[in-house]
């Protein structure tokens, strides 16, 4: 990992067209501005991890647990439409 120190308003250039600016520093929080081509995805790491973890968990479920849940879901759906 490359480690750089930047002061407020200083910038970093990644490759030819990704530009990072330190916009604000307050308390323990840094506001970072990112300019990048729109085909480059920029995501908070926690969001990426949540999505990965839901995928991994879903892939690990056994068929009997899923079948039981499907039956429960069908029952709940038909109950709501009978009212």
């Amino acid at each position: 990992m490359l480690v750089l120190s930047r002061k407020l308003k200083e910038e970093i250039l990644i490759g030819k067209n990704i530009r990072i600016t330190v916009l604000d520093i307050e308390g323990g929080s840094v506001k970072i501005g990112i300019k990048a081509p729109k085909d480059i995805s920029i995501l908070r790491m926690e969001v990426v991890e949540k999505i990965q973890n839901e995928n991994i968990a879903s892939a690990s479920k056994e068929l009997d647990v899923i079948s039981a849940a499907a039956d429960l879901l069908k029952k709940t759906l038909s109950k709501e439409s009978k009212d």
């Binding site: 908070r44 969001v47 892939a59 079948s67 849940a69 759906l77």
Partner: protein, 151 residues
Amino acid sequence: MKINTRKFGEIDIDEKNILTMPEGLPGFPDFERFVLIEDPKTAPFCWFQSIETPNLSLVVMNPLVFKPDYQLDMKTLIDGRDWQGAKQEELLIFVVINIKEGDPKNKITANLMGPLIFNLEQNEVVQIALCDSDYSHQFDVLEAISNMKNG
């Protein structure tokens, strides 16, 4: 074409239905080719099955069944990738489903924060992250259905 699956054994699939994930599947970076399987025994769930390994299949379903007002900014989605020919109405949305064992009953959760978008015209699927929305990655499906009638 025949493929091997852990949950359904050997199944026959039409090669025209093979979907690729050009941006990969988060959590499973080595796998890119999948099919969508509908098994009547586990409906309304569908299965997003890898054709490269029998063990990999995700439980997915159509979110409009339990959240009819679920909406995405389709235009930004289409613009951000090479899907210029795609019409918004032709893109399908599925969400990944999980089951949490609990007391008194199990919870069925849906990842509304990271939907799977199917472009059937190009046989491509991407999983996008809606980081600026309020949608949860563990949305309570059964509770939403109960609230639909009572709300």
